[in-house]
């Protein structure tokens, strides 16, 4: 008790000393360093904004312009006009939405089984789920590409019935939303994240719900999921980020310009007939907007999703 109060007095004294000695100088220095660091981090983004606003003549100027003296806002509509950016973004949006919803559904179901049901082989199955994290996409990419290709171009015999091409290609085929999304609908990370949370829900709640006649599905949808909103949000934001940013897989499975995602469409601007580079930069900024909006709106969820597993809480 005495030690505690002593510590408190010491702390108060230290704080007082700091305040007395450096009334505001310490903070000013901190802010100076913070602003300097922020400037360096933001420089590439700032230069993109400047370049996107420069007129065609000054974009090739040297030394590079650090401030747009005559901002050309028209470059943004020009970018949308010369490149089907809206279409690319729509494609990315659809694919991302399918993946986010799909991951929430598959991982909620799987996490429920791992958290609430006791059955033989559960531990082993959970380890098998986790082991999928050890197979990078790049390792599986050739057979996955072949799978998508073969669904779109062959027929399959199931129990003596021939399933025609026209049916299979609705499941998967090159240049389709399905082929962009389906391989990513299940997630071991999401299952793990949700299971961790589900295990904090008291088992008594399940017993009480069972007495009220709730089956497993009803219990999951009306009790467990409403109690898990924050962690579901973290998973959703994380899934949004990772599927919106995909590059290699969309590059392989889309050839049709109409089916390109925004990342691939953006990269293809390099070789495209575009008015000039300022329009490309304007397009880059437009393409970056949805993610920046996500960051500003859902930073908390994003941080929770990204740091899962990194620190013990």
């Amino acid at each position: 008790m005495a030690a505690k109060s002593e510590a408190l007095t010491t702390r108060a004294a230290t704080a007082e000393r700091v305040v007395q000695r450096r009334p505001w100088g310490r903070h000013a220095l901190s802010y100076l360093v913070l602003i300097l660091a922020a400037t360096v981090v933001l420089l590439p983004i700032y230069m993109t904004v400047v370049n996107a606003l420069l007129p065609k003549e000054t974009i090739v100027a040297y030394p590079p312009k650090l401030f747009p003296s005559d901002p050309q806002w028209g470059n943004f509509p020009k970018a949308l006009d010369q490149v089907p950016l809206a279409r690319y973004m729509w494609n990315s949006f659809i694919v991302t939405a399918i993946i986010v919803v799909g991951q929430l559904v598959t991982s909620s179901l799987a996490a429920y089984a791992f958290a609430f049901l006791r059955f033989p082989g559960r531990g082993l199955l959970f380890l098998i789920f986790l082991s999928t994290l050890m197979v990078p996409l790049e390792v599986a990419i050739i057979p996955n590409f072949q799978t998508v290709q073969s669904f779109g171009s062959s027929h399959l015999e199931i129990l003596g019935f021939e399933v025609g091409r026209h049916i299979l290609q609705h499941i998967l085929s090159l240049d389709s939303y399905q082929s962009l999304a389906v391989p990513f609908l299940a997630t071991a990370f999401g299952t793990f994240l949700l299971r961790q949370h589900f295990m904090t829900i008291p088992k008594e709640l399940r017993d009480a719900a069972a007495i009220d006649g709730y089956g497993h599905l009803r219990f999951l949808f009306f009790v467990v999921l409403p109690l898990s909103r924050p962690v579901l949000a973290s998973l959703a934001v994380f899934a949004f980020l990772s599927s919106w940013n995909q590059y290699l897989w969309p590059l392989l499975v889309t050839n049709d310009d109409n089916m390109r995602t925004v990342q691939i469409g953006l990269a293809a601007l390099r070789g495209r007939e575009i008015d000039s580079f300022n329009v490309v930069m304007a397009g880059t900024l437009i393409a970056a907007m949805p993610m920046f909006a996500m960051l500003v709106l859902f930073q908390g969820q994003l941080v929770r999703g990204l740091t899962a597993g990194a620190v013990k809480r």
Partner: protein, 304 residues
């Protein structure tokens, strides 16, 4: 009517079987997807490595382990392995130093600090394509800002992305910036999980700022440090987009990392056999790393 509690061994067995049924009912979507898109392709990749490919990309003769031997022992693979190794060092080490630095800046208790936290985290919101397009402009050999800065520093003017010695560092610079937000976020979370009382006792003991950093912050942060290292290495091993946009693996294969080499073999030269061997090689290389990553997750399973 309320259900009666089932008693006895037989009853428990029945419940377990019933639960297994429910379990599979809940798990089948994930099981099917993982089987089709993770386990089957992994096995298929190993299998494809046993076969040569004809020039049209069709499966050719069975050559068994010979192809593994010739590809994994060949100079091309060794070159891409070396490039990947350099790329990993160039990106992970500066990424850790800068990420930790930014996180420590952002961990101060100051009014308005959340604005700086958002700014420092902002590169997680830039996709690899957006970041690469931005850096393509900065690295432009005639008008780019980096070129201008090098000029100011009195360096001879180089086309960085087109120079075999400088292309990899230039791509690494882009990657460091791209991954900086993630490292900062993870380090910040790690810093915030360090109990305040440890700093208080350090202060009472009269420890210097450097001493506090070395004896309190770093040891407490070691799990986070390891995690960021592992994640950074995995990200480096799996990098593709920035290389595809900035250099296409060139010049003179100076930026052909393993993943880019797999892409070239499989989807430009249609040699699935060789590409599959490289993919299996990549799998073995990152196996240890992803295993470590899994340990972080597992720790949360068992020690909660």
């Amino acid at each position: 009517m309320p259900r009666l509690p089932v008693v006895g061994l037989l009853g428990r067995g029945l419940t377990q079987i019933k639960n297994l049924g429910f379990g599979l009912l809940f798990l089948w979507p994930s099981i099917i997807l993982f089987s089709l898109f993770v386990f089957y392709p992994l096995i298929k990749s190993v299998y494809l490595g046993f076969y040569e490919s004809d020039p049209l990309g069709n499966q050719g003769d069975f050559v068994g382990l010979d192809q593994y031997r010739s590809v994994l022992g060949g100079s091309d693979f060794r070159h891409s392995l070396w490039v990947t190794f350099q790329f990993t060092v160039y990106t992970v080490v500066p990424g850790i130093v800068l990420g930790l630095g930014l996180a420590m800046l952002a961990n101060q208790k100051l009014p308005g600090i959340s604005i700086f936290r958002t700014i420092f985290a902002s590169t997680v919101a830039t996709s690899v394509a957006v970041a690469s397009m931005m850096w393509l402009t900065l690295l432009n050999p005639t008008t780019g800002l980096v070129t201008w800065l090098l000029d100011q520093a009195g360096q001879p003017r180089l086309n960085l992305l087109n120079d075999p010695d400088w292309a990899l560092p230039a791509v690494s610079l882009t990657t460091i910036w791209l991954n900086l937000g993630l490292a900062t976020i993870v380090f910040l979370a790690g810093l915030q999980s360090i109990p305040e009382r440890l700093y208080e006792s350090a202060r009472i003991d009269g420890a210097s700022r450097l001493g506090t950093f070395l004896h309190v912050t770093l040891p407490m942060l070691s799990p986070t440090l390891l995690f960021v290292t592992v994640i950074g290495m995995i990200l480096a091993f799996e990098s593709f987009g920035q290389i595809h946009i900035l250099t296409r693996g060139g010049p003179l294969d100076a930026t052909t990392v393993i993943v880019y080499s797999i892409y070239l073999e499989a989807f430009q030269r249609f040699d699935y056999g060789v590409a599959a061997v490289q993919a299996v090689g990549l799998f073995v290389l990152v196996l240890g790393l992803t295993g470590l990553q899994l340990r972080f997750l597992e720790r949360r399973v068992f020690y909660q």
